[in-house]
């Protein structure tokens, strides 16, 4: 035993000894976590949202490791040093621990400060990351600069985006049993089963559904927003480098829910523009038949009709065009 761990009367200074053990283990634990685990924590770093959420998770873990080790060190130390067979009358065991003001105040202050810091840190992250990739509903509380302008322009077909423009790119996500499709109002409102977005761009995902509740989860982008019929649920993210991501439905939605996924891509801005303009031209005939771009489309429960269009042509009505000659 060193002098550091004993007082002037030669008695072991347990608190100091536990503190030294705890600090050493915590530093080692945090360093090991930072080197070997932190870089691989999901969802990765494909978007700013993902990167910041990875950072947040890592900060939480690096604070949790000392807390966990603090409990383990105290428990282990107590079992070893103050076990009944060794020295049950030690200063920190039994009644002595229950009346130790220093221990009690330290515990309350340290845990309170930790919790308050984490609450403030989490709130700061949500606000600065514009909802942190989560769906904020139709009126986002935390929208990035330029988002409102881009969204308003998208509704009237005047949204613009080009490489280097720094404009927010609105993308509509339409859930239906059992696939997501995507509309690009900036490129004529074409619809595609593929989700491709440009790198280094702020994306405004506008998520809705044509039938039941789905949930759009672009995993590596760290975007997750419920798809409710009749609701435009907006989620923001800022893409970084090119890469692939997986989209899954994360709301149980029927028999093929497990198959409701697709791959998405973050492409370079030039490649994205090329894909978007090519697809816009290739899909032009079908885009002309789609309803005007809107934030929501109101289906009804009337079988195969569904009201995606104005519900003036009811297939079960006697006064509409069904039964007319098939196009030759």
């Amino acid at each position: 035993m060193t002098n550091q761990s004993t007082n002037s009367t030669g008695q072991v200074h347990h608190l100091r000894r536990m503190t030294i053990i705890w600090v050493v283990l915590s530093v080692v634990g945090d360093v090991l976590f930072s080197i070997f685990v932190a870089p691989h924590v999901p969802p990765g770093r494909l978007s700013e949202t993902a990167a910041n959420n990875q950072n947040t998770f890592n900060v939480l873990m690096e604070m949790a490791i000392p807390v966990l080790l603090g409990v383990w060190v105290y428990l282990s130390y107590s079992l070893i040093v103050w076990g009944d067979k060794r020295n049950a009358s030690a200063a920190f065991s039994g009644a002595a621990a229950r009346t130790n003001k220093t221990a009690q105040v330290s515990w309350i202050v340290i845990t309170s400060v930790t919790i308050l810091f984490l609450a403030a840190y989490g709130s700061f992250a949500v606000i600065t990351e514009h909802g942190s990739g989560g769906g904020e509903g139709p009126n986002p509380a935390w929208a990035p600069a330029g988002a409102l302008k881009a969204e308003t322009a998208a509704l009237v077909g005047k949204a613009t985006w080009s490489p280097g423009s720094k404009n927010v790119l609105p993308v509509q996500v339409i859930g239906q049993q059992w696939k997501f499709t995507y509309r690009y109002p900036t490129f004529g409102g074409f619809e595609s089963p593929q989700l491709i977005v440009p790198a280094d761009t702020t994306i405004a995902f506008n998520v809705t559904s044509l039938d039941v509740i789905h949930s759009f989860w672009a995993y590596q982008l760290d975007v997750k927003a419920d798809a409710n019929p009749g609701v435009n649920d907006v989620a923001f993210t800022e893409t970084k480098n090119p890469g692939n991501f997986i989209v899954r439905c994360s709301e149980l939605c029927g028999i093929w829910h497990g198959s409701m996924y697709n791959s998405g891509k973050v492409e370079s801005q030039a490649d994205f523009e090329n894909w978007a303009t090519t697809t816009e031209a290739a899909n032009a005939a079908n885009t002309a038949l789609l309803p005007a771009f809107a934030w929501t489309y109101t289906p009804d429960a009337n079988g195969a009709d569904g009201g995606y269009y104005n519900d003036t042509n009811d297939p079960y009505s006697t006064v509409e065009t069904y039964g007319s000659k098939q196009p030759s």
């Binding site: 028999i255 789609l290 079988g303 569904g306 995606y308 069904y322 039964g323 196009p327």
Partner: protein
Amino acid sequence: MSLTGRLSTAIGLFLVAVGLIGWTLMAFLHPGTDGGYTNYTVGHAAGAPVSVELQSVGSIGTGYGDHPTWVSYLQKDPATGKWIHDTSMILPANTVVHMTILNYDSGSPLRNQEWGQVQGTIGNTATLNGKSFKVYNSYTGNGVGHTFAVPSLDVSVPMIGVNGNLTNICGQAPCGSLPHNTITFSFKTGAPGSYNWQCFVPCGLGYLYGNGGGMSTFNYMGGFLKVVA
């Protein structure tokens, strides 16, 4: 009652309860017919295309199980030429599949016209009664009855509806020479794996949003393509 007797009674009741719960769960998990796989790899020469023939019917009738009013696909057994109620198939990998689908059902406007566009087939085209098309306006003519779509392969083809006002529209499969549209297209299977296919028209009439009944029961409006090397 002795301790042994009480214990035996408790264990017996527990086993009965577990059995009842298991039986109930299995009944929910297997609401439809267990669909088999039709194997197109038997005797298949490497690189040669495969031909598959399906038919889609508005009501399957009494010859194929417990739901005669449900909408369904049927598959033509290549060995016997009979129409069977199996919607899944085993296909060779990286092989061209020539599909012929006879649609006997009427149609309507699509909930999402996106499915009116032929996608993922060779040339992004299909034929309707021998005539090539890429996009079908579901708001015209008889609309679209169903789609054949393999989401993971981005394949989607609309099945154009027949005139719903006809008096001889098929209501009992197999439908033979009754009014129908013939849709053909080809796609490539790609790498080995299990790919689900499904209809994207909410055609389960009588169910909320049209996606219940045959749309939510395996082996009616969907199935699997098991692609093997």
